[in-house]
Amino acid sequence: MADIEYKDKGSILNPLKSWQFFARKPVTVPLEPRPASLNYRGFHVNDWEKCIGCSTCQKVCDNAAITMVKVPGLAEDPVLGVRNLRPAIDYGRCCWCALCVDICPTGSISLSREYVHTCTQDEIDSYFILPDPKGIHNEFFGHGWSKSVDADLVDLKRQPMPELEAQKRIDNFEEIVDGFDMQAAIIEASRCVQCGMCHDACPTHMDAPEYIRSIWEGDIEEAVRWIYKSNPFSHVCGRVCTHRCETACSVGRRGEPVAIRWLKRYAMDALDHERVKQIAHEGKPDFVTGKRIAIVGSGPAGMTAAFDLARLGHYVVVYEAMAKPGGMMRYGIPEYRLPYDKLDDDIDVILSLGVELHCNTRIGTDIEFSTLQKDFDAVLLASGLHEGRSTRIPGSEHGNTVSAIKLLRQITQGEKIEVPKKVVIIGGGNVAMDIARSLARFQRTEYGSIDVTLTALEARDDMLADESEIREAEEEGVMIIPSRGPRQCMIQQDRLTGLETVHCVSIFDEDGRFHPKYDESDVFVHDADMVVEAIGQAADTAYLGADTTEALDWQRGRLQVDEDGRTTADWLWAAGDMVEGPDVVHAVAGGHRVANSIHEYLMNRVKASA
């Protein structure tokens, strides 16, 4: 141990040893300000360009020092997942722990190397500051504690989703995605930072943060309860939704977004169907209003409206032209993406509320449209888009040039189709992928090999189909050729031999209008004995009859409605694909909207006459 003898030597001169320090350099630290270290946790800086106002920093702040403040003039877009909120810090509460930095999903917030703030007595409020990219005094001192991989608290990696391999799925229509098991679902749900960007971005504003939280807590019933508040087609949306929620997800800013769609699917699959029914019935009044509503079409829009209206005590009758309900969900989406028993489950819940469904009943043929107006208090049109659009290129009138939507309907109805040996598909959207992948499966079963070519007008990165759809199609052997514009169908002796395409340079002109430009020197002929057009759909509204059609407002063949989905006739509403783009979740949102509007109209009329 120490060599010094720590004992009292008895000399009173010992303390005088300190006098020698008069001759030495003092150990005092100099007084001038010193720059803080590179890692210092000083006042905040916030990169407003990166910040999306998700308020995760506010949630983790252990002293409640952070308040989200609206900053007018900043971008606000729920679809992109951007709010004009920015964190303001109360430095009377802040403890400079930097948890806000470590959890920030975007990495916008960091602590600076600035550490001095003083104020006079009448400026006490100056401790509540909105930090901007320059810090709190408009003078940047450099970044101190910033986002680092070591301390990042955001879980950027998604739980892997088990799915069938390309080789195992290509010759059958079995569902590709297996769905999460409980373990994976809980871990995936735990990644959510509860910012609610998904809720804002979702067309029907599903309470995703709430049901994700319930899944994380292991309370599936509560999750389904939250899901049913805004979406009766959750088996469907849990599989085929375009998941705008995930596009807006703040965790997706730097990593992979939370798998919100798969979590919804997990909750729906994990709960017993009868229990789901009971949950859907919760809160349904035991009285009936005596009002009668007719709905044309049993797709997502019509059935969602039926669900809402039935839950409000109205009497709802749905007319469906096809043999089974579901509309485009059944007759447009292949079974490997959406198994029909799951669709049946969703519809069964709705029907269990007392909705009357008449299948194989085509309005205009089996029942005159005008009788609906007579027999019902309100009518909702939700007949969808069941006609394929044509490119109208030379040769497109040939019998082997078919519309994708028609072909898909035949396939999903179980009709036997003539499987082409070589097929070219025109279009780059999800429908094009659906038909390409369906035909690939038939080719594989029938001929053992696949020859499906998909030509899209858009460039690879701008293609309208989901990224996962494109990836899976390519895995399954579909050849995707982007930036090709169709020129003509090659016909030799009444036989379709191929499709001629040219290279597409740009699709839109300077004003953003659709006006494709082609490079005429780059021409190619794709050999094919069938050409499938998947470039869009149109509505068939002939069933309305001339008088009704005349009375309504149309623009470019599309029925015009107000923001509540009401047409110019006060008893007639329209919703779903026929008034807005083809997408299940938009249709669900539209169904809710018109149901509200119809309910208001019917109930107010009672008040007025009383």
């Binding site: 141990m1 120490a2 010094i4 003898e5 720590y6 004992k7 009292d8 030597k9 008895g10 000399s11 009173i12 010992n14 303390p15 040893k17 300190s18 320090f21 150990v27 005092t28 630290v29 803080a36 270290s37 590179l38 890692n39 210092y40 946790r41 995760t56 949630k59 983790v60 252990d62 002293n63 403890c95 400079w96 722990c97 930097a98 948890l99 470590d102 959890i103 602590l111 101190g144 504690w145 680092s148 070591d150 301390a151 608290l153 955001v154 879980d155 871990i187 749900a189 735990s190 990644r191 959510c192 930072v193 509860q194 939280r213 994380w216």
Partner: protein, 380 residues
């Protein structure tokens, strides 16, 4: 006429008087008070009163997420916050079954021992000042400041480092940092002869501190004394050696003891420990470059992080003694119960109350500093 329920107040004998020592008194550590009964300058009876610094840490922790508490626990002991962070993290790691990467363990030792040196320097200063030697206090505080610069550099905060996190640490050391640690250790070591000259071999200190505030080993054990205070009674007990945590079992160091059990012995044990901490740190500086790998075990998103139901009791050796946490989880996202066993709650209550009895009033301050009691630990 007196009311029926009148009871005569039990007045002290006329030769005794009461004195409130603290909570605002330069001779007391932090916001702490002693209610004294004095006979002349001699303490007849003392009662410790620790309620001036009650912040309700243990209760607060029950309402905060697991991760949020890492910013709260260092505040339980201001001069030596590192063991608090570590102990809390260790408990969660034990319940949650988190494996702390090796590099993180070494970095934790680095932080702990630097913190121990800083805390001891602070305490010398305190003891010196209470015996009238203010130069030594200035030195202690100044040299501690150099260590705080190191903390600032690698943890981001000078006093509250908030460096540990369940699963590991939050930052790796910056480039060239080990060299600066090494230089600082050389500097601190070069200062020790000055401290010895001015303080430890100083007749004033020795005559003032020797024989003051004595406790024997048996008393120390009965009162729950730990740390340097226990070792000053001749018992070489140190959690780092006797119940090793982190990588202390791979490190070579001694447990200094003294036998006198008085204020002098206690402060002297700290002087020896300073050297041992420097010795440990030199080994860490040597070993760290060869230990690579992650510095943190992955934990889930802290906003949705549950620790499995269970309980853990973890203890570490702080500069003040045995710091321990008893953490209970019921499987939710917040602790069900956290109990902090701060060493100072024993030292500043039962030990101090007994020790000051019979001593002179001017020795109370140095007894308290020689016990190195930290008031916020007393009333959590």
């Amino acid at each position: 006429v007196r009311p029926e329920n009148y009871q005569a107040k039990n007045h002290p004998p006329s030769n005794e008087y009461e004195l409130n020592f603290g909570p605002n008194h330069p001779g007391i550590e932090g916001n702490y008070a002693l209610q004294l009964k004095l006979h002349g300058d001699k303490v007849v009876h003392a009662r410790a009163d620790g309620g001036y610094l009650h912040r309700g840490f243990e209760k607060l922790m029950e309402g905060r997420l697991w991760i949020q508490n890492i910013a709260l626990v260092p505040r339980i002991c201001v001069p030596d916050p590192a063991p608090m962070e570590l102990c809390y993290s260790l408990a969660i790691e034990e319940i949650g079954g988190l494996d702390v990467p090796e590099r993180a363990q070494w970095l934790r030792v680095l932080q702990l021992e630097l913190s121990r040196i800083a805390a001891h320097l602070f305490t010398f200063g305190g003891h010196a000042a209470t015996t009238g030697m203010y130069s030594n206090m200035y030195w202690g505080v100044t040299d501690r400041d150099i260590l705080l610069d190191l903390f600032e550099e690698f943890t981001g905060g000078r006093v509250y480092s908030i460096y540990n996190m369940p699963g590991g640490v939050r930052r790796d050391i910056p480039e060239g940092f080990l060299q600066r640690v090494s230089d600082t250790l050389d500097y601190i070591e070069s200062r020790l002869p000055d401290y010895d000259n001015l303080f430890f071999t100083n007749a004033v200190f020795i005559r003032r501190a020797k024989g003051v505030g004595i406790m024997n080993q048996q008393q120390a054990l009965e009162w729950g004394v730990t740390g340097p205070n226990l070792r000053a009674t001749g018992l070489a007990f140190d959690v780092r050696r006797d119940d090793p945590y982190l990588v202390y079992d791979q490190l070579d160091f001694e447990i200094p003891t003294e036998d006198a059990g008085d204020a002098w012995a206690r402060t002297l044990v700290r002087r020896h420990e300073l050297m041992q901490s420097i010795r440990i740190l030199r080994q860490v500086v040597k070993a760290l470059p060869d230990i690579t790998g992650p510095i943190r075990a992955p934990i889930p998103n802290p906003l949705a992080w549950t620790v499995p139901a269970g309980e853990a009791y973890t203890r570490v050796e702080s500069s003040k003694g045995e710091t321990a946490y008893y953490v209970v989880s019921n499987g939710s996202d917040m602790p069900y119960r956290v109990h902090v066993r701060g060493p100072s709650s024993m030292h500043a209550v039962q030990v101090l109350e007994n020790m000051v009895q019979g001593c002179r009033i001017e020795d109370i301050a140095q007894i308290m500093f020689s016990l190195d009691a930290c008031p916020p630990e007393v009333d959590r």
